[in-house]
Symmetry: C2
Subunit: 215 residues, 2 copies
Amino acid sequence: MRTLAEENYLKAIYNLSQNETGATASKLSEKLNVKLPTINSMVNKLADKELVEYKKYKGFILTEKGKKQALEVIRKHRLTELFLVKIMGFGWEEVHDIAEEVEHIKSPLFFEKMDLILSNPKYDPHGAPIPDKNGKLPKTNLKLLSNIEIGKTVRFVAVSDSSSDFLSYLSRVGISLYSSIEIIDREVFDGLLKIKVNNITTTLSGQVAEKILVE
Amino acid sequence: MRTLAEENYLKAIYNLSQNETGATASKLSEKLNVKLPTINSMVNKLADKELVEYKKYKGFILTEKGKKQALEVIRKHRLTELFLVKIMGFGWEEVHDIAEEVEHIKSPLFFEKMDLILSNPKYDPHGAPIPDKNGKLPKTNLKLLSNIEIGKTVRFVAVSDSSSDFLSYLSRVGISLYSSIEIIDREVFDGLLKIKVNNITTTLSGQVAEKILVE
DNA sequence: TATATTTGTTAGATAAGTCTAACAAATTAT
DNA sequence: ATAATTTGTTAGACTTATCTAACAAATATA
C-alpha cells in the first residue's frame, strides 16, 4: 500500500521534472518542507521500490511505474479541484489546499463518480490537463505570457501557480481563465507588462506574467 | 494536530460507549483490528492528553474534550455519507467505506460547504443523527425491531450496521428506510420474525431484527 | 587552480503506531 | 475455593517518516 508521504514525493518529483531544471534533492526539500537528509532516505526507499531512478549526486527521474503512480495522484487532485468548483460551488482560489487532502483518498469509486458527474473532464479549474484513467495527458502547447511578442493577442488557458494568493490577485485585476489578452508593451529592464483584457488596460509584473500560460 | 489513528480511537470509543457494555480493551481491539497491547499504549496516550479517563483493568470513558472531538469526526462521517448519497448519487450501501476515509479531511470549509449544500441535515442515509457544529445531537427514542410486541406497527428509522452486506440484504428483501413494518409473529426460540412491509410478508432472522431501529 | 560555497550523503536519534512474548488480574467454571 | 480461562498489562522490538550533526562531492569564485 502506497503511503501518504510516498504519494507526495512522487507527485513533487513529477512536477519538478516538468521544469527544465529537473528534480534535485534541494528542490524537493524546499517543495515538501522537509530537511535534505529526509529526502535522501525517502528517495532511496523509492528507488528500492523501483519508482525512481537515482545515481548519487545526480537528480531523480521517475521510472514508468513511478510516473504512472504520480499521474494517478495528479488525476485525483485535478478531478477534485474541478468537482469542488463545478459541483460544490467553491472559487478557483479556494480549491488547491482541499484537493491536496482529498487526492489521497483510496476509494477508486469516489473518483470514478466525480469523473462521471463531470463527464470525463479534460482540464481542471486552473487549466491544467487531467490525466485519463491510463495516465494519458492531452497534449498542450503552452507559452508563457512573459515570452509573447508585443502586439500579439493570446488566450489565457492555464496558470502554473494555484495558490490562493495568486489566483485572488488575478481575479482582483479582472483576469480570468480563457480571457483574451493583448500585449501592449513590455519593459525590457524588468519585464513589466502592459496588457489589454476586456478592453481594460492593466499592468502586470514580470513574475506574474511568468505564471500565466497562454496559447 | 490530531492524527488519523487518534481520530479512529476516539470514534471507536465513542461508538462502544453507546452500548450498555461500554468500551473495553478487547472490544476496541476487535473493532480497530489492532492487537491488545497496541490498544493499551494508545489509550495511555489518549489519557495523557486528557481525552479519555482510564483506570487499569477498568473500561475507558471519553472526557468532555474527547467526546467533543469524537463527535467532530462523526459529524464529518455522517455529513459525508449524506453528501455521497444525495449529491453524488451513491447507494446507501456504498457510502460507509468512502466516508471512513473522507471523515479525516481537515479542511473545515469542505464540510461547511457540504452542510450548506445539504441545508443543515439532521440525519444521515442510515438514519443516524448528524451532530451539529457544537456536537449537539438531536434526541432520538429508538427501539430495536427485535423488541417490539407482536401486532404493533412501527416505522423503520435507522440501522445500527452500515455495512454494505447488511444494507444490500435489506434492499434485496424490500425493506428501506422509513418503511412501515408490522410485526406478525415471533419465534420465541430464536427470535425469527415474521413481518409485513408494503403488504408483503417477509421473515427476518433475530440477528437482523436487532440491527433495525424503529419508532 | 585553489578555495569557498552550495549541495548531497551518512550516521544516528526520535516519535508514532504497530507487533510478539511473557506475565498478571479478573472472571468463570468445577 | 481453587483451578481454568479470559482479559488486560508490561517489556521490548520494528517500521515509517522525520530530525540534527558531521562530513563529502560538486560547483562557483577569486
